[in-house]
Amino acid sequence: MTRKKTFLIVQSLLCALVAGLLAASALCLYFDGAAKQAEGDLFYYMYTRERVGAKLLPILPLLFCAFGMTVSGLILGVKDENADKPVRDEKLLRDLGSIQAKAVHQVATQSELYLRVTVIALAVGLIVAGILNGGLEDVLAKGATICTECVGLG
């Protein structure tokens, strides 16, 4: 095994380890909290700044290590050489057929042009209709408050 390959494998193991530990920390906090809440402690908070900090602290050295390896790898130009080569998957290539015929052509066909204009007109119409029916305010209302579902709080 070459040094380059060893580097790549160590780096991938490190990345997997960091991600695994981060996931495990969250699961630990969650299951601990769930157990406490099941015991009847209604106001037990699963996550607090302190608890999260305590869980993250031991992972930090690994994270720095992975970051350091990434930076050194990029500087030294270490990478998987196969990644840039054309694919040779037989099953994949079988589907290719005539690229020339099926690719999106430089000059749009008449039907494509019509479709484009129609969709643009339709989109503008929809936006105007949406502004009139209060859709714009709905977007503003949602965007101007923290979306608790989006951030995983709700």
């Binding site: 996550y47 990434t70 998987d80 989109a123 977007v139 608790t148």
Partner: protein
């Protein structure tokens, strides 16, 4: 592909600008555009510092790329989140606006958005730069690429429609269960700021699930190019529908193309043909094509064309394109600078934000003045008629005005949706619950029936549900068929004056519980079940009794020292003793006596004594020779309650340590009641005086829990406001023991 073509391609490969750039390690135009877009989408940079999101009018528009609107920097909305929200509300408002925006973006840019101006695409590509063995595309990844249509159909369309239209429940499926942008930009972006520390309390199963998903996706992106984009992203799936006829995108000149297939074979996306629904128009194939058949076009304008090879564009054309490119970059940078200045310094919303703050200050002043008057009246009454002195106002007047637990909430009044008005001070003598909700906030809607249930069960409680956004008409329409007739509903103003006055976060739902004196006993951004609400109501009711008892029945600790904290921090042991005659500072006789007296680490803690709840008293100087841990807690402080079992565990494990848990508020009766069934029998409990004599003497912050650890010489080895785990406590104990 014949050998001539192969050789032609190989020869060209060595000369491509892409290869030249790789050698120089310089970011290409596309990378710069990606960075630019990410910065422009998140131009509200001050949001990362102050921990608040941008709430201006631009949030009514959507950015083309994937960018969470709850990211502190985001200046516009996420198209996918808006779509789900619109579909959720499709029962009463048709989602024309968001559909129109998506169609417009799609037909003009198609999936060029994914390749050039999507911040999530940038993050994925940067992750893929991490040097590891890479998984290349294959027939399996091509099949997996259809998975994103399943995500689109199920999580973005079906779940919001079924729950929203069918059951009236707001459930943006993709945002809630999967979206890694929300977790990374929104949750991590907000939670990293100490201002949002209480938001941690809301985290539970949903966050854990999303956190794990984000990590899995992140890990996948390291090994497999743009995994999220290729297999999951519903936004990419939507734009993919428009890709074939989009105005902008990678196009092929059929006259030059010889169907060699190298463009498809070298492309990292799962395309079958250049420009199909999987093509993100990154333009790598332009440099790959030996025959110069591919170019990136916007209508008839060539944005990037072949520059090397026999079919390369003529030199003047390339030079002209470069010149236009430089002008475009100049304009783009000017726009970015303007956007950053606008959103961080000029935006009218900033001025508006300051106005209510000033209003709040005025209100606070007014309330404090009223409070003083009430105090005076209260004390006079107390002398003349002790039963009258039990009026709630008598005790609360001394408290600071604010919205934190233990503060007196500023007074405000608002019009109710049902007519009439609600003035907070009119409801003194009752437990008041103020709930902030929104029609687009699923957890808010889910918990409102529990408030109704509470009001029915305890008619004495006053519940005001404030719709966090202006628009009484919309709120009324929403509430029409809900049957929550026992609750008082109101809406905040457009400038969110009440929310700003009460320091309520934009994260909904938010709830403030006040005891009958108007003192905050709970304030957090978290959905509450009926059981929790009932517990909070009862705690607030008892909190009043505790305070009254503490004030009237002289339950305040006798030996509470009322020295000013600054004196405690600076005074010598003699001065401290002088300032607090009852606090005999023994330090002068101890080896550590030459240390300054104070509560900072390395200082000699001033002596004090206090009555214990279980009888007897605790004098600090009596415990020299032992590690002493002083913990300040409150019955309404969840992190305090959570950590107390760890103190008990420590005391059991190390009987030599002296632990005094001081209830930060007066009211021995309440504290005793609370502790009755807890089984923390090894700890010493006490309460501070009404004037918080001990806390002031020891310079302990209002933010609970607070802990001070002393070494056997009485020197402070730790003093902070943070909940402590058992491990940390044990470490602190051992460190203090060793610190002699």
């Amino acid at each position: 592909m014949d050998n001539t073509m192969k050789n032609e391609n190989k020869a060209l490969e060595k000369k491509t600008p892409e290869n030249k750039r790789k050698k120089m390690q310089r970011p290409g135009t596309r990378r710069l555009v990606q960075l630019y877009a990410a910065l422009l989408y998140n131009a509200n940079l001050k949001g990362f510092i102050d921990g608040h999101i941008y709430t201006g009018n631009l949030k009514a528009t959507c950015v083309p790329g994937f960018n969470c609107y709850s990211c502190p920097g985001a200046v516009a909305s996420c198209p996918l989140g808006s779509l789900q929200n619109a579909l959720n509300a499709a029962g009463h408002t048709a989602p024309w606006y968001v559909l129109g925006i998506l169609a417009l973006f799609g037909v003009i840019l198609g999936r060029t958005i994914c390749g050039w101006i999507c911040p999530l695409g940038l993050i994925q590509e940067l992750l893929h730069k991490i040097p590891t063995p890479k998984i290349r595309k294959s027939h399996i990844t091509r099949k997996l690429s259809y998975l994103k249509y399943v995500f689109l159909a199920v999580f973005v369309i079906a779940i919001p429609l079924i729950y929203g239209v069918g059951q009236g429940i707001i459930l943006p499926g993709f945002c809630k269960f999967i979206c890694p942008a929300g977790t990374f930009e929104g949750a991590v972006g907000l939670l990293q700021n100490p201002v949002n520390a209480t938001s941690f309390y809301q985290l539970g199963a949903v966050f854990t699930n999303k956190w794990v998903i984000m990590l899995v996706i992140g890990l996948a992106c390291i090994f497999c190019y743009r995994s999220f984009c290729r297999f999951i992203c519903p936004l990419g799936a939507i734009y993919g529908f428009f890709n074939r006829f989009a105005l902008t995108g990678v196009k092929v000149n059929p006259d030059r193309c010889n169907s060699c297939g190298l463009c498809v074979m070298k492309c990292q996306m799962d395309i079958k043909h250049v420009g199909d629904h999987e093509c993100i128009s990154c333009g790598k194939c332009i440099d790959t094509c030996a025959r110069g058949a591919i170019s990136l076009k916007c209508g008839k304008i060539t944005l990037k064309g072949p520059e090397i090879g026999k079919n390369a564009d003529p030199e003047p054309v390339i030079q002209k394109r470069k010149k236009i490119g430089r002008i475009a970059w100049g304009i783009a940078i000017a726009v970015l600078v303007f956007a950053v200045c606008w959103f961080n310094f000029i935006e009218p919303a900033i001025e508006k934000a300051n106005e209510p703050a000033a209003a709040a200050a005025v209100t606070e002043q007014a309330t404090v003045e009223t409070g003083s008057a009430e105090t005076k009246a209260g004390s006079e009454t107390k002398e003349s008629a002790p039963e009258e002195a039990q009026k709630p106002q008598a005790v609360a007047a001394d408290l600071p005005v604010g919205s934190a637990v233990g503060n007196l909430l500023p007074d405000f009044s608002t019009d109710l949706l049902s007519g009439g008005d609600f003035k907070l001070s009119d409801h003194r003598g009752h437990v008041v619950i103020i709930n902030f909700w929104g029609t687009t906030c699923a957890p808010c809607i889910a918990e409102l029936p529990d408030y109704e249930k509470l009001k029915v069960a305890y008619p004495d409680v006053e519940i005001l549900a404030i719709h966090a956004k202006a628009g009484a008409k919309k709120a009324k329409a929403f509430l029409e068929d809900k049957g929550w007739d026992h609750l008082d509903f109101a809406t905040d103003s457009k400038e969110k004056e009440i929310m700003k006055l009460l320091n309520v976060s934009e994260a909904l739902p938010s709830t403030i519980v006040l005891n009958p004196q108007g003192v905050v006993t709970y304030h957090a951004q978290a959905p509450l079940s009926y059981e929790k609400l009932e517990a909070l109501y009862k705690a607030a009711l008892t909190d009043d009794q505790g305070r009254v008892n503490g004030a009237v029945a002289e339950a305040a600790p006798e030996a509470a020292v009322e020295a000013a904290p600054e004196a405690a921090a600076e005074a010598t042991p003699e001065a401290a003793a002088e300032a607090a005659p009852e606090a005999a500072v023994k330090a002068a006789a101890e080896p550590a006596a030459n240390l300054p007296v104070g509560s900072a680490e390395g200082n000699l803690l001033p002596d004090f004594s206090t009555d214990l709840l279980n009888g007897g008293d605790f004098k600090l100087s009596d415990h020299r020779g032992h590690v002493v841990i002083l913990n300040f807690w409150g019955t309404t402080c969840a992190p305090c309650i959570a950590e107390l079992p760890d103190y008990e565990k420590l005391k059991v494990a190390y009987p030599d340590v002296e632990i005094l848990a001081i209830h930060a508020k007066a009211g021995a009766k309440k504290a005793k009641e609370f502790l009755e069934d807890k089984g923390w029998d090894h700890l010493d409990f006490a309460t501070d005086s009404k004037e918080k004599g001990i806390m002031k003497l020891l310079n302990v912050s209002e933010a609970l829990p607070s802990t001070i650890v002393l070494n056997p010489k009485g020197v402070v080895t730790y003093h902070a406001q943070a909940p402590l785990s058992y491990e940390k406590l044990e470490a602190l104990y051992k460190a203090a023991l060793a610190d002699q």
